[in-house]
């Protein structure tokens, strides 16, 4: 038997109510139910970071949170933050510095990077690497990603 629960949450500024299977994780809910396919699914066990979204202002693994646990929460995805221009500087830097190739990791990477800019302090490359240690990229070798994040977090020059 499929158990279901009713939830109401705010996704990218819009209130949505749905009945969801208890076992559905948040990123499947966002992708399959709301059509927000910007958050990706890689491993589904918390290792790759492709599913990173923001819940109540904090980044979380979308595959390690159930949709029913997001009842009453505010969820922001790559789509919402792009539209709101919150990610503009990072997106520009990623583009200019070739910090993406296939782009599969990019939404999760941008969410993790944005989290770092919120701290409003200068960071070392080591700290950037530690902060994105939970986000796998199979293409770039990370160097360009660290460059892009460093440019935005620490400001140019």
């Amino acid at each position: 038997m499929e158990h279901a629960n009713d939830i109401t949450l705010t996704v990218n500024g819009t209130r949505v109510s749905r009945r969801v299977p208890a076992r559905q994780h948040l990123v499947d809910f966002l992708r399959d139910e709301l059509g927000l396919t910007g958050s990706h699914i890689g491993c589904e066990h918390g290792v790759c970071g492709a599913c990173t979204v923001r819940v109540n202002g904090e980044i979380v693994r979308g595959c390690l949170m159930l949709a029913v646990q997001a009842d009453g929460c505010t969820v922001d995805t790559i789509e919402g933050l792009s539209d709101a221009k919150e990610l503009e500087a990072l997106q520009k830097a990623f583009h200019e510095r070739n910090a993406l190739q296939c782009g599969f990791c990019t939404p999760g990477m941008l969410m993790a990077a944005l989290d770092l800019t919120k701290k409003n302090t200068k960071v070392t490359r080591e700290e950037i690497r530690a902060h994105i240690s939970g986000n796998y990229c199979r293409c770039t070798g990370y160097q360009a990603i660290v460059d892009a994040i460093e440019e935005v977090v620490n400001g140019q020059g």
């Binding site: 499929e2 499947d28 589904e44 990173t52 693994r61 949170m65 240690s133």
Partner: protein, 270 residues
Amino acid sequence: MKAPSFAYSKPQSLAEAFELAERPGAKVLAGGQSLIPSLNMRLSAPELLVDITGIGSLRGISVEQGVVRIGALTTHAQIERSAEIRKHAPLLAQAVTHIAHPAIRNRGTLGGSIALADPAAEYPACLVALKATIVVAGRDGERLVAADNFFKGLFEVDLRPGELVVAAEFPAILKEERSVFLELARRHGDYAIIGLAAHKGAETRFVYCGAGATPVFAKRASAAKDLDTGKKALEKDLNPPADLYNSSATKLHLAKVLLTRAWNTLTTSH
């Protein structure tokens, strides 16, 4: 992979949680950072998840009369950000940065980590080093279990059906005491190859994670008067199981490396 089907319930009180957690096929859900991966991989198939995150009394950090108390639902991120923890429990403040990655630390909890008792996890070793007490509770009331006795075997702890971890308590660090947490991992945030929680108070305790089925208190090395004796003694204290990448001998070698680093830190004055 996707999780098998289960029911979900979110009690608002401890009494309600005890009743639900006792039901056959029930499993407690806290941060979900270990449980949900195991559901997604279908390593576990509970019938009912009892989400305890609505129970306010399980949250928070307090320091009273020299005792630090951390509620079970306190997240790794809250421990990491806490000025009280930095001041009164530097061992945990150092250890927490080694646990997983920011997005996981935002949801994973202290209680979940100690209830799970992964042999490579940081908190259990810290709690043994600090001679902590684990506060557990169930329908029949509260029990206090010394961390030394709580971690019984591989993923096995002293929790009876329907019981929850409520908090961990341990003495706040004194001025003359020192603590250090060190860890070697393949990649920042990965589970430890080997880690060491060291505390020097009235007694010195070197407690390893990733060195056995439970946190391993290296009793002989802890009693040693000098580093060389300590390193030799470690060979008797530890028999670390090999993992995918490291043999037992490598791990023992790395354990000595950590002992040397910790020894130097503990014996250097402020």
